[in-house]
């Protein structure tokens, strides 16, 4: 079984929104598109997006930390949005675990979006069908794209490399190793949705310096510096000089 997913490293993300815009660009011109905008140049521009980057502040001034938090469909392994769909338009692919919406079947009843605790689905206000992240399903299998670029648009565009893509069911994949070794976690685990996407936590690189290491008891330099007293008596050297 394959379960494709994203692993997002919150320690690396700088909140630049490159993934948001590249996602919109790829998908509005791809199979999932168009993704309409209303009022794009007006007062309250709004439109359909599959991916958003949000910002949170952790702690209290002055001990605060900024967390940039990209959010898109998590392709849950036990996706609650799928069984509620009355038409069968929402489905989870057996072969790679991607959750998709068939835009030709969807009646826009919004029930699936109520059943997603993460708010990952958006109704397209012009097409009136439900839309969501497709993990760039029209890109990752495209044989006409060079193999190393067959990844979701957001992964390719991320300038800091905060987004990894791969099969979380393969224990040796890059994503599984990252989850395992860097403390990857899931969002809202309390609902049992088993999101396939994982997040890597903020990590602090800290060095512990022991006092011993500042004043080294066994400093070799100091050891060599032990000078023996010289004799006041006349020595052979004096005589020779």
């Amino acid at each position: 079984m394959t379960q494709l997913a994203l692993v997002i490293d919150l320690n690396v993300c700088v909140g630049c929104h490159a993934c948001v815009t590249s996602c919109k660009q790829w998908n509005t011109s791809g199979q999932a598109g168009p993704m309409f905008d209303d009022n794009p140049y007006g007062k309250d521009p709004t439109g359909t997006f599959f991916n958003r980057v949000q910002t949170f502040e952790v702690g209290e001034f002055p001990c605060t930390e900024t967390v940039h938090f990209p959010k898109s469909c998590l392709h849950c392994e036990d996706a609650p949005c799928v069984p509620v769909c009355p038409t069968g338009a929402s489905y989870k692919r057996k072969e790679d675990g991607i959750v998709l919406v068939d835009y030709d079947k969807c009646i826009g009843c919004k029930y699936c979006s109520w059943a997603c605790p993460y708010g990952a689905r958006e109704l397209d206000e012009n097409q009136k069908v439900m839309k969501k992240c497709t993990l760039c399903v029209d890109r990752i299998y495209d044989q006409s794209i060079p193999e190393d670029r067959r990844k979701p648009a957001c992964v390719i565009s991320c300038p800091t490399g905060a987004r990894l893509f791969g099969d979380v069911h393969d224990p040796d994949s890059e994503v599984s190793i990252a989850i395992r070794e860097n403390g990857g976690y899931q969002l809202m685990p309390e609902w049992g949705t088993k999101p396939a996407n994982h997040y890597l936590p903020r990590r602090k690189t800290k060095m512990h310096i022991h006092e011993d290491e500042l004043t080294r008891a066994d400093n070799p330099l100091r050891k060599e510096d032990i000078r023996h007293e010289t004799s006041k008596d006349t020595t052979l050297d004096d005589w020779l000089m």
Partner: protein
């Protein structure tokens, strides 16, 4: 959640239709058992017509809940395909069955059709059979409607057995109130029976609705901003939701009204749905005044519109945790 008027009208209108039908059916069954005076065929045919109009009104409102009304013709039939997993799909099956059977019931009575189906040698076996099937459909439809909401476990205000119970009791209460008004005008000795049941159902609805209000006022949220983004710290606040002009996420899941507005709607619906109709029903029964029953129904129905608005507005979706601050 954002209350959609299509769903408010859909659920309240079909509730009246189903409740009214159940009232008619109870009169029919009691009449056959000679516990109540038998009614004319026209009484049942007329009552079924009113119930049918309410059901069709609900269906009409439902069309506007679809993405586009045209989907009703081109795509809605697919909505019946996922009945194994989806309560909405089950409702989409139960609703046409309910409408079709109510229509059949009306036709049977209008033309006075009957047959000695079971060899009992008494009249009314065919209408009774159709009536039983329709009553089952009406109850099934109540269950489906309620479960659509109760089945979403993370909308904690809805995920409770009280939700389908409320749909059933509030629907039947309004249906029996309307049946009382109808019987006062066209029935024969049914007013006390319907009126008393309307009072009992309204009281029962008041108890269960109050119970759900009480429960919802002390819900312990399972999700928090900490579980939403997975950061363990007591102080986490949003600084930006990633967009400034709003999105589906800010439109669909928030009612956008003040706490005071919400509170007033609650009191309005408690008075209109329960208090006023109970007084009017009681006064109508005591003074034998048919007009009061109709008034009771009108107030109760308007109250139910407020009640349904509140039902949606009060529901707090966990996705709202991600949409606290614009930027």
């Amino acid at each position: 959640m954002h209350p959609a008027f299509s769903v408010i009208f859909l659920t309240t209108l079909i509730g009246v239709g189903q409740g009214l039908f159940l009232a008619l059916f109870s009169a029919q069954a009691y009449g056959m058992a000679k516990l109540l005076p038998a009614q004319s065929n026209d009484f049942f045919a007329g009552g079924a017509l009113i119930a049918l109009l309410f059901l069709l009104g609900g269906l009409f409102a439902a069309i506007f809940h679809l993405g586009k009304p045209s989907y009703f013709i081109t795509r809605a039939w697919r909505g019946m395909s996922q009945w194994r997993t989806s309560w909405l799909s089950r409702e989409l099956i139960a609703m046409p069955i309910m409408i079709g059977l109510t229509f059949l019931y009306m036709v049977v009575y209008y033309f006075g059709l009957d047959a000695d189906l079971y060899g009992w040698g008494v009249e009314g076996q065919l209408p009774l059979t159709v009536g039983i099937a329709t009553a089952v459909a009406a109850i099934a439809l109540f269950v489906c409607t309620g479960m659509i909401y109760a089945a979403i476990k993370f909308i904690q205000e809805w995920a409770c057995a009280l939700t389908p119970v409320n749909y059933f009791l509030l629907g039947t209460a309004s249906g029996f109130t309307l049946a009382t008004a109808y019987a006062a005008a066209y029935g024969d000795g049914l007013v006390q029976f319907f009126g008393n049941w309307a009072i009992v159902l309204t009281l029962a609805g008041l108890i269960t609705r109050a119970a759900s209000l009480f429960r919802n006022s002390r819900i312990k949220r399972k999700s928090s901003i900490q579980t939403a983004i997975g950061v363990r710290h007591t102080k986490v606040q949003q600084k930006s939701m990633g967009m400034m002009g709003g999105s589906y996420n800010t439109r669909e899941y928030f009612h956008g009204k003040s706490e005071l507005f919400l509170k007033s709607v609650k009191w309005i619906f408690l008075v209109l749905t329960f208090a006023l109709p109970l007084i009017l029903l009681w006064a109508g029964l005591a003074g034998n005044d048919g007009g009061l029953f109709l008034l009771a129904f009108v107030f109760q129905y308007i109250g139910l519109l407020f009640e349904r608005w509140f039902f949606f507005a009060q529901a707090n979706h966990p996705q709202n945790l991600y949409y606290q601050v614009v930027g």
